[in-house]
Symmetry: C2
Subunit: 218 residues, 2 copies
């Protein structure tokens, strides 16, 4: 059964691939799975039909027959557990790949989200400029730790996995608004490797087509 995901009818990033549906599209492309997309407006996202699918009123959601999921990490893991291409076969290696998924959203992303909150919600506040170096130091600390672990490896733990997908997606969003990632050349190159994957490119083109109004070539 072809799953249906939701995405912004008008993405605030103007098609730069930073909205979280890109992560789910990318996972589906890596797994070679077709999918349908239902676009939702900001108004619809706060309405009862969408809130029944997503209690926090966000995108993406994932519907497949009687199953309805929200939370990008959970959707990507669901896809990865059911199709080849996103998790290794060995049980221990699978557990380690899932560890990197959680590290992406619970260790790497929080200081990056804090910076986004400062830039978007508190941009007109007197304190924001003065706060920013402290926030960036916290991000830099995490990036340094990630850089040391990554070393000269291609991916975080063996073959490309859902852990890399989530980590690259988190870092990509940061890279789009800061030059700081260039301070960590191996992490910068790691993100570029992720974005160079054919599955990522297909996902990017598909989300861009929503913004430009061009349906992707079927």
């Amino acid at each position: 059964m072809t799953p249906t995901i939701t995405a912004f009818a008008r993405s605030p990033d103007r098609g730069r691939g930073l909205a979280r549906d890109t992560r789910v599209r990318w996972a589906l492309e890596e797994a070679g799975q077709p999918y349908e997309v239902r676009l939702v407006s900001f108004e619809q996202m706060k309405g009862p039909a969408h809130l029944a699918l997503h209690p926090f009123g966000q995108i993406p959601t994932y519907e497949e027959g009687e199953l309805a999921l929200f939370e990008t990490g959970s959707i990507v893991l669901h896809i990865a557990q059911r199709h080849a291409g996103l998790l290794p076969d060995d049980a221990n290696a699978r557990a380690r790949a899932i560890t990197w998924m959680f590290a992406a959203v619970n260790t790497m992303e929080p200081p990056i989200l804090e910076r986004e909150t400062a830039r978007l919600l508190e941009r007109d506040k007197a304190w924001t400029e003065e706060r920013m170096p402290g926030i960036e130091d916290r991000i830099r600390n995490r990036l340094g730790q990630l850089s040391r672990r990554l070393g000269d490896a291609e991916w975080l733990d063996g073959e490309f996995s859902a852990g890399d997908l989530m980590m690259v997606a988190v870092l990509m969003r940061f890279k789009a608004s800061s030059e700081m990632l260039e301070e960590f050349p191996n992490v910068f190159a790691y993100v570029a490797r992720g974005q160079a994957r054919p599955a990522y490119k297909r996902a990017f083109e598909a989300q861009l087509a929503v913004f430009t109004g061009m349906a992707p070539a079927g």
Copy 2:
């Protein structure tokens, strides 16, 4: 094989159960699994042996034979997937429970972490008092959404699951430093139900014993 987890030799919360090893202890207690604990000092956490286990230099870690994991969410999921008691049998219900695990760490926890950062790292800054209402509004928004979804249910989706464990643990940490949770009586009662579980109580006592220096009764 009995797993070994790491915990703070001297927890900054003075045994209130707020350090993240409590989440892993709780999961192991729900699953009825024995475990060993290795205590690490702050100095050891930044040393090469611990960084080899945990690239971000935190606790807890989880070692079981040749498997080494970090990230609380990943460790709890690993335990939940291998033992009864933390995930439903039905595949769709399992996927939904895992969704709540990710919702706990990636939707509910970030604004709570932002408040902690303000209170701990920026407490002496002129702007912190003025910023706090905005941060608390973001937390209140999420709590309101969670409250509406929970309604008068006992747990988030059917029986108690690893999703509830993670959500209660995130909210418990917030409750320890704010009275705001009382504005949402059903969520407040939900957290209390989690903390009343015998497995949670055993986990709490075990981490408290580290602080008081009393070994828990074996």
